[in-house]
């Protein structure tokens, strides 16, 4: 079984949406291969259950399920990222779609044993099915369980996705006081200008208007208010209204896409230089030299000193690369 290009592309999107782009997205072939294994094991276990008790799962149904119930797919992918076995992923999926966890037994003996056994009751409320594993990584499943009590008795109902902070280190940004320019956007999102709403004022309204429109076009910003964005496009004087919308934390979480949030979090100069390509480093060096050589920049003394430090670090990295 191999996935088609469309399926692979769909899976990559799902992986990124689940916040796992910086983990699974870096080694997609491994992720695809483990998903294939999961589907095979699920099919084997499914074949041993009464007809109609559980749905058939294929990569297409999984992608479809992500559209309808992305919150079910996220914990599955997180478990996959934690190196859980296909057998336990199959168990997990059965739970996520409605089976009940009847029992979990875990045994650990240092340097000897790490064994987990899970018993489920399928959605028909009759069929019992058992999963066992001696793979230590399967213990990671316990990171994802929901712990509760009903009538003061212990209950584990299902699996929940962990909150994974946005990935760091993919964008190389050049930030002056009011705007952020993306020099390199490693996750194939292209490059261009972005902006930092908390630092916007009357002096750069025109630039901000352009940046907002650019950001929307690049998909970094969702037009929470399409009408407002349309106004911005034609009339920069309405930007303060847009800025007010973007400046509140509550609005931000609605307005910014995950990629936009990542960009926004980089409020210092050039990050993660060690991971930058020589080409990127040269771009950053040119940008710093431009700022240092300009008399009209907005950096204060400390920031200029920091820039000079950055420049020295870049020179050293470029020398090493050479």
């Amino acid at each position: 079984m191999t996935f088609s290009d469309a399926q692979r592309s769909g899976l990559l999107e799902v992986i990124h949406e689940a916040g796992l782009g910086h983990i699974l997205g870096r080694r997609p072939e491994v992720a695809f291969s483990r998903l294939e294994e999961f589907l095979q094991v699920y099919a084997q276990r499914h074949a041993g259950t009464p007809s109609g008790t559980l749905p058939v799962v294929t990569i297409d149904t999984l992608l479809e399920e992500h559209k309808r119930n992305s919150h079910r797919v996220a914990p599955l992918l997180q478990a996959l990222a934690f190196n859980c076995t296909a057998n336990m992923l199959a168990m997990m999926w059965m739970v996520l779609i409605g089976s009940t966890i009847e029992a979990i037994d875990y045994t650990y003996r240092r340097e000897q044993t790490s064994r987990i056994e899970v018993e489920l009751v399928l959605p028909d409320r009759l069929t019992r099915i058992r999963f066992e594993s001696d793979e230590h990584w399967d213990l990671a499943l316990l990171r994802l369980v929901g712990i509760s009590k009903g009538d003061d008795q212990p209950l584990i109902e299902t699996f929940y996705a962990l909150h994974i902070p946005p990935s760091e280190g993919y964008a190389r940004l050049a930030i002056d006081r009011w705007t952020v320019r993306v020099l390199e956007w490693v996750q194939d999102y292209g490059s261009g200008s972005f902006f930092c709403p908390s630092l916007i004022d009357a002096r750069n309204l025109g630039e901000v208007a352009t940046a907002i429109v650019d950001a929307v076009q690049k998909g970094w910003l969702k037009p929470a208010s399409p009408k407002l964005l349309e106004s911005v496009r034609h009339d920069p004087s309405v930007v303060p209204e847009a800025v007010a919308l973007l400046s509140s934390d509550a609005a931000m979480s609605v307005v910014l896409t995950a990629e936009g949030k990542r960009a926004l979090r980089r409020t210092r100069f050039y990050r993660r230089l060690a991971h930058a390509s020589p080409h990127s480093l040269e771009m950053v060096r040119a940008e710093i030299n431009r700022v240092l050589g300009s008399s009209s920049h907005d950096y204060d003394h400390d920031e200029l000193a920091e820039l000079e430090d950055e420049l020295r670090a870049i020179e050293a990295l470029l020398q090493d690369a050479a």
Binding site: P55, R68, N69, H71, L144, G150, E157, Y160
Partner: protein
């Protein structure tokens, strides 16, 4: 739409779809034949497994099919007392509308969900501390 009391529980950022699935799991243990209806479009979910929870924000959970039929026919009526829980999920909380939060069932559901959202889910539950 129904008489009753509103109980609002903090969900600590858990997404609405996950919250509503949790609500259903907790209620379904008490009402195994419960019927789920998307309250915004008045459309019944075929089952938990096949339900599209992704876009759900408001969910009616009836005790069983006869209860749903009585509700549809009569609305709130003594014949269908305590047979419906209405859940409305928001960005940071879920509101449960129950006829009487002092009944054993309502109390148990509220307590269990409170414990789950506060201490039991890995998603941002540390904020409860």
């Amino acid at each position: 739409m129904i008489r009753g009391s509103e109980i609002t529980l903090d969900t600590f950022g858990l997404e609405p779809a996950t919250v509503l699935e949790s609500v259903v799991r907790v209620i379904a243990r008490r009402w195994p034949s419960c019927v789920l209806v998307d309250a915004e479009i008045c459309q019944r979910l075929d089952s938990f497994e096949a339900g599209a929870f992704g876009g759900l924000r408001e969910l009616l959970v009836f005790r069983d099919e006869p209860s749903r039929e009585i509700w549809e026919r009569l609305g709130a009526d003594p014949d269908n007392a305590h047979t419906l829980i209405y859940a409305i999920a928001g960005a940071r909380s879920v509101t449960l509308v129950v006829e009487d939060p002092r009944t054993a069932l309502a109390r148990a559901v509220i307590d269990e969900l409170t414990a789950l959202f506060t201490n039991g889910t890995p998603w941002q539950s540390w904020r409860a501390a």
